[in-house]
Every structure is written in C-alpha cells, then in structure tokens.
C-alpha cells in the first residue's frame, strides 16, 4: 500500500520533466534553461531527475551534474517553504549585512552548511548582489524585497511568518473561539 503513492508521484515527476524536455526540443544546448525550468517546477533538482535528463538528452550524466553543481542557482537539495535570501555583497556588506545574516541564522538555527531548518519551513541563504544596492542591506523573503533592514527587523519578519504559519495550523479552531486571534494577525 505504502509504495503506491510514491510510484504515482515518480511517474508524475518524470511526466513533467518530459514536458519540459520537449519544450526545449531535447537539445543538449538547452541544458541550462531545461534545468531552470525543472527547478522552477520542483524547487530543487532531484538526483534521479538529473540522470533522467542526461539519458533523454543523450549526454553523460557527468555533464549534467557538472552544470548543476557549477552554477549557484541550482539547488541539489530541497529548500524550505519560505526562502530567505540575504545579499552579502559589497554595498550590503559595508552597510552591515553580516549582523542580519547572523541574527537570522541564530533565530532559525541554520548554519552556512545546513541552510534549511529541520521542519523544512525556512531556508536561509546568501545571494550575490540583487542590484538593489541603494536600499542596502537587502533581504528577500519569498521574492519580496525588504530594504534597509536591521537584525531586529529581519527577526521580526520571521516572527510574523511563524505566527502566520502557526495560525494557519490552528486557525479554524482558534478563530471561532477567540476573536482576539484576528487582532493578533493584524
């Protein structure tokens, strides 16, 4: 019984990959856009998908893995539900982005090596210049850019997300019993 959903999932996984491969006419030259599209679909590049791509494009798996590990944008491990990206480049660095990064890592218990929290809720990663240097230091939470951020502000933003997530889980029961919960959400 237990294996059935996984099998279905796998077939579904490759079905989508096939669609993406067809979109790029299965040309090895399109490897980077293909991997980008796959990552867009799955949030990361699962190993079995990479070998599948290699076979489909008729290139050695080493070439696909080589490309997937060369570029910073490709993730070979799943990311958390909320992705926090901190710009750690020059303009942000001189405006003290490091304390922001440290505060977030401390708050969520992540490190440079293990970027994602155990509950798969948050990923904290650094990113090379977002081009919003006028607003330094900058962090991006789920594609939303926050500029001129302080460690306290960054932690407060995470608090907000955690509160939202908590209320999502308990919301139906709490909202009915305690009208106060609504005010908290504001």
């Amino acid at each position: 019984m237990a294996s059935a959903p996984i099998a279905v999932d796998r077939a579904g996984k490759f079905e989508k990959v096939c669609g993406i491969l067809d979109r790029f006419a299965r040309r090895p030259a399109g490897l980077i856009p293909i991997l980008q599209a796959i990552q867009h679909e799955y949030q990361y590049l699962p190993e079995e998908v990479l070998t599948y791509v290699a076979t489909s494009l008729d290139v050695p798996p080493a070439r696909v893995f080589g490309v997937a590990t060369f570029y910073a944008h490709f993730a070979l491990e799943p990311k958390g539900k909320h992705v926090i990206r901190i710009c750690d480049r020059t303009a942000c660095h001189v405006k003290q982005s490091l304390p922001v990064l440290n505060a977030l890592r401390q708050k969520l218990g992540t490190t440079e090596k293990s970027k994602t929290t155990a509950d798969m809720m948050f990923t904290v990663e650094t990113v090379a210049c977002l081009g919003a240097c006028g607003l330094a230091p900058v962090i991006v939470i789920d594609e939303q850019v926050h500029g001129q951020i302080t460690p306290e502000h960054a932690v407060a933003l995470v608090d907000d997300i955690q509160a939202q997530e908590a209320s999502l889980q308990t919301a139906p029961a709490v909202a009915a019993e305690q009208p106060l919960a609504e005010e908290c959400n504001d």
Binding site: F70, T90, A128, A132, L135
Partner: protein, 632 residues
C-alpha cells in the same frame, strides 16, 4: 501586415515627441528599489484618486491624446533608489520622494488639481536642509549628465509606442534602410565608444573584426550578466528602457551581418528578464524584429536567456560556454569571439550600457557624442554610487569627472553607520568591484576615465563605486573581495583556483592575528603569480583589491600584524576586551548578558573578563551604562 501603423510612427523626425511633452504626466518609478518600497500600491492609489477627482486618466499612450488628459505611467529605475518610491509630475517638474499610498490623495488634489507642490514630500538636501522642487534644483540630479538614464526614468518601459513616439527605433531604421554595415562600423569607431562593461575595448573595432569575417551565420550577444556586486546600471537600463537595448542590438547585428541576437540576463534580476522578454515580444509584434525588418527583407531574431548565477560568465568566452549549455569556463583568446564565438561562428558581445549608447550615436552623430567626456574616453558613464554616502543611486556623468564631484557633491557627502553626514569620514572608494581597486583621499581630484584609473591601480570596471568611511577596516575589505573571487573562480587555472584560496588564507592570518613579518611579502608575491598565471579577467584581476589596499593602506596591514590591533575594531580576533576597574561599579549588568559566562565578580566590586572564555561578541559593552568595558 500588423506593422503598418507602427512603422509610420518610426518616422525620420520622431513626430511624436512634441505630444509627449505636452501631455501632463504622473510618472511612478517602478524599478526594483521603489517596487520594494511599495511603488505599485502608490500606482494603484493614483489610479483610484485621479478617477475620483474627475481627471481623465490615460494609462496607455495614444497619439491623439487630448490635452486635458493626464498620463499615468510607470517608469524604470530613476536611480535615486534610497528615496523611493519616487513620483514625478511633468511638465511641472516636481519630484516627490518616499511617497506612500496615504500621500496620493494630497498629491492629486494639491498638485494635479490646484497646481501646488506638496512641500513635505519634496527632497531635502541633507547638507543645506533646502527643499528641492524637482530634478533641476536637486544636486543629485542637476550635477549629472543623464543621456542613457534620462529615458529610463521617463518612458514607460512596457509601452513600445511610447519609445517609438519618443524617436525610438529611428536609428535602427536608418541603419537598416540607409546605411551599409561598413558605414555603421566606421561611425561607431569615429565616435570613440568604448565597452562599458569593464575592459574599455573600442566598440567599433570589435564590430569591424566580426564584420570582415566571411560567415553566413553570425551572432550578437548583449551581456546583461552584471555580476559585479554593487553595480546595477545594466539592471536599470534593462528594466527602464529595454527597447534601447534591442535597438542597439539591431544596429550591431546590421553592422556585422548577424541575424540572431541574444540577451543574457542575470537570474538575480527577475524584473529585467520579464521586461526584456516583453520588449522582444512587442518588437516582434510591431515587425521591428522578425522576417522583414523595416521592410528590408532582412530577418532578425532575438532571444532572452537567464543566467544561472556564475560571476565568471561575465567573461565573453565563459558566457558563450554557458549559452551552449556547458559549465561557464573561459577559453584562451585568440581566437576571439569576433572570429569564432557562439557555435564557432563570429560573435560580438556588448555590454547593456554600451548598446544603449549606440542609437543615440547614430541619431546625433559621432561629433556630438565625442563633445563630452575626455579625448580617450568620450561620452558618459553611469556609476553606481553606494555605501557610506548620503545619496546612493545611479549617477551618469561625463568621463573625466573628478571623484570629489561624484562622492561629495552628487553623493552629498560621506555618512556614518547611522546615516548622518560625517564631514571627515572619507576613507576610500572601491571602484570596479572585486576586480577593481581603492581610491583614497589623494585621488579625490582624479578625473575618472579608463587610463587615469589604470595608472593608479584601479579600473572603471562596470562602474560600481562603494564609498567607505573611517570605520571600515581595509584588510577586511580585501578579504571580503578575495572570498568572493575565490568562491567564483571556475577552477580551470590552477593559480586562480588554488592561489585565491591561499591569498584568502593569508588574509585570514592577518585578520586573526597569526601573520608575521613574511606574510605581506608572500601576499604580494602570490598576488602577482595569480595575475600572471590566469587565463581570463577573473583571475587576472582577482588580486587587485589586495594589491591596491596594500599600496594605499599598508600601515593598516602592519598594525594588524605587528601590533595585533585593528584601528576600526572590526577584526574581532584582535580585540581584547577588559573591564576598567576605575569605572566599574559592579552592577552585574555585563555578567548577566555575557552568553559564555566569561565575566565574574562580586556585587559592587569591579568585575573581570576571562579571556579564555570570552568570544568577543560585544554584548557586555552594549549592556554597560558606565562604558567601563574597553578594547571592544
């Protein structure tokens, strides 16, 4: 025949521009910076309030617009990101800063209806405290010479008609209909235009080298992989005036005889990717790109490709490898891409800013282009001014403008960490990103141009200018850049791959107090070896920040090594916090906050820090109201 009407718009004299200046406009900056601060909310609020006030809102430009209509549009980055969201009202010439949606009703009633400026939303010059009504009396803008950026902050980047009405695609039409490829190359060569991406290679020569190649297939590539951290002028142009890039590509393609173009954009710039893609689609729809460009029967195809996050891909041959679906590793030159590039065909790669200059050169002629800037570096250059400076943003000035003018006059002066003006705070400017060098107080009068910068060990690079105040440790800055280039080295050349790693380790030794008398010599020797033994620009320039800081801030290195002291207090390992017994009253505040229990002491007796346990976090110094904790 979808292209009949727009083609008539692309007329030799740009017939729509008078109409563009007559209609009243409200332009909301929709660059990444302003969008992050809520520009879209402001835009939506304007739509509602203007309709509510009975104004005829014009959301899309039409040539037959009536004079009582008010055009409400978004624009690309206006360059003054820190003060965003920006709203300008034209032709009144008013620029509002930090506009919130709550302010919109007031602007609509006061400015659009009653014709008055809303005083409190005007920019105030931090040094004189004077309000500036618009860009003409605002030193950040008035001291610039905006040619490429001008339209970024004015035209709607998502409306091709506005670009055309403003004289857009006129130069491309001329290139296709009236000019021979050879003539175009000569014109660009005569203008003296040099690559804005860093190298400064004459664009006309590059084009001519590709033009003379005998090949049926050639490519033009726009390099929008602005990997240099701290520089964002390419992002602004792609977001703010994407059609100027496409027009530049069209002209370049015509000049070398290519029929395929590609725009390679950094993946960190989603908005630029989106706007470039939309611009390509619009240009195809209007018949500007496609199988019959301007009715000449020539074809032109343009694609937009997203990079995947590798700094080295800014290098031409590495970018080509990336486009071909391989790891972005550079190859030796020659053969140059102009001879054998993408898929082995003649290819030219030009920076976004370079291409954005091209249409103007065709329109005004090489003499006018040359009339500003210096003899060897003509025209204007956009610098991204960031760091410890009052006005951060994009600054377009003629080549040859002294550093002082940019940092102190346009930038409004150096600031402290809290953002307050610090009159004596200037320490250095890092120019050209991780490949560049430092400029110090002695260079304030230096005219910024390709040759003058090279002579002092720096480079124009892509034009990032990061201002650093006296509180910045230059050894840490060198380490910071080295950490970046070390990480971004593609690994092909041993000296770049291993050498940058060792340079980083040596800098760590300096910062963490392990360095000795031989370290500096070794640093210099290795830096020169990495320069000599690397294939591409990344490795050749990676040691620049080290060499440049060693040249101008050697004393700071020596303090770290021989006195085990960092004058800014930023190097934690060199700190030795102590409690001054004369000041300590034994209140216990520090003892309570210390995360490692390194502080001991009886109540009301001077406390003591155990250096073995202390992690130099500085929490005690913050907690102590008597400032008894010293050395941190």
């Amino acid at each position: 025949m979808t292209n009949v009407e727009p083609l008539t718009l692309v007329s030799p004299n740009g017939n729509g521009s008078s109409m563009l200046t007559q209609v009243r406009r409200v332009v909301i900056c929709a660059g990444t910076g302003c969008m992050a601060n809520g520009a879209m909310k402001v835009f939506e609020q304007f739509k509602r309030e203007m309709a509510g006030a009975g104004l005829h809102v014009l959301l899309e430009l039409r040539p037959e617009a009536a004079s009582d209509e008010v055009r409400l549009s978004k624009s690309g980055c206006q360059g003054f990101c820190q003060m965003g969201p920006l709203v300008s009202v034209l032709p009144d010439g008013i620029l509002y800063t930090k506009v919130r949606s709550e302010d919109v009703a007031e602007i609509v009633h006061e400015t659009l209806v009653a014709g008055q400026a809303v005083e409190r939303l005007l920019y105030k010059d931090p040094s004189t405290r004077k309000s500036c009504r618009g860009i003409t009396d605002n030193p950040f803008y008035s001291r610039q010479n905006r040619l490429v950026l001008k339209e970024c902050g004015y035209l709607d980047p998502e409306d091709i008609h506005e670009y055309i009405l403003h004289g857009g695609y006129r130069a491309a039409r001329k290139a296709f209909v009236e000019m021979a490829p050879q003539e175009i190359c000569k014109l660009i060569l005569d203008s003296g235009l040099r690559g804005r991406g860093g190298g400064g290679f004459p664009t006309g020569r590059k084009w001519d080298a590709a033009r003379v190649q005998n090949s049926a297939k050639k490519y033009v590539i726009c390099n929008g992989d602005e990997g240099d951290p701290g520089a964002f002028m390419n992002r602004s142009v792609m977001e703010g005036n994407p059609h100027s890039v496409i027009e530049g590509l069209l002209i370049a393609a015509r000049a070398i005889g290519a029929n395929e173009a590609l725009v390679y954009v950094r993946a960190e710039y989603p908005l630029a990717v989106e706007r470039m893609r939309r611009a390509v689609k619009d240009a195809e729809r209007e018949g500007i790109l496609g199988n019959d460009v301007f009715g000449t029967g020539l074809s032109m195809k343009c694609d937009v490709m997203e990079g995947a996050g590798a700094f080295v891909c800014g290098e031409e041959t590495a970018m080509i490898a990336s486009i071909e679906g391989r790891r972005g590793m550079p190859t030796p030159k020659p053969p140059f891409p102009a001879q054998s590039g993408l898929w082995g065909k003649p290819t030219i790669i030009n920076n976004v800013e370079t291409l954005a200059h091209v249409s103007r050169i065709l329109n005004v002629g090489p003499e006018v282009f040359r009339s500003i800037g210096t003899k060897d570096s003509p025209g204007t250059k956009t610098f991204a001014l960031t760091g410890h400076v009052a006005n951060t943003g994009l600054v377009e000035v003629p080549f040859g403008t002294p550093l002082r003018e940019i940092v102190l006059n346009i930038g409004g002066g150096v600031t402290d960490d809290a953002g307050k003006i610090w009159k004596t705070g200037f320490k250095a400017v890092q120019i050209g990103g991780p490949s560049g060098g430092c400029l110090t107080e002695e260079h304030l009068e230096l005219p910024l141009a390709y040759e003058s910068l090279r002579s002092v060990g720096a480079m124009v690079g892509s034009g990032g200018l990061v201002v650093m105040n006296q509180g910045t440790c230059m050894v840490s800055i060198a380490r910071f850049f080295m950490e970046f280039t070390q990480r971004e080295s593609c690994g092909k050349c041993v000296l770049c791959r291993e050498g940058t790693k060792q340079l980083l380790a040596l800098l760590d030794d300096v910062i963490e107090g392990r360095a000795d008398a031989g370290t500096l010599e070794l640093l210099e020797k290795l830096a020169h070896a990495v320069q000599a033994g690397s294939l591409c620009g990344l490795g050749k320039t990676a040691p620049n920040p080290v060499l440049s800081t060693l040249r101008y801030f050697r004393k700071e290195y020596e303090e770290h090594i021989f006195e085990k002291r960092c004058r800014t207090g930023r190097c934690k390992a060199l700190l030795s916090p102590e409690i001054n017994p004369a000041k300590c009253k034994g209140c216990g505040m520090c003892l309570k906050t210390c995360p490692t229990q390194a502080i001991t002491g009886e109540k009301k007796q001077p406390h003591h820090i155990d250096p073995e346990l202390c992690i130099k976090c500085g929490a005690c110094a913050k907690a102590c109201k008597l400032h008894a904790i010293e050395g941190i």
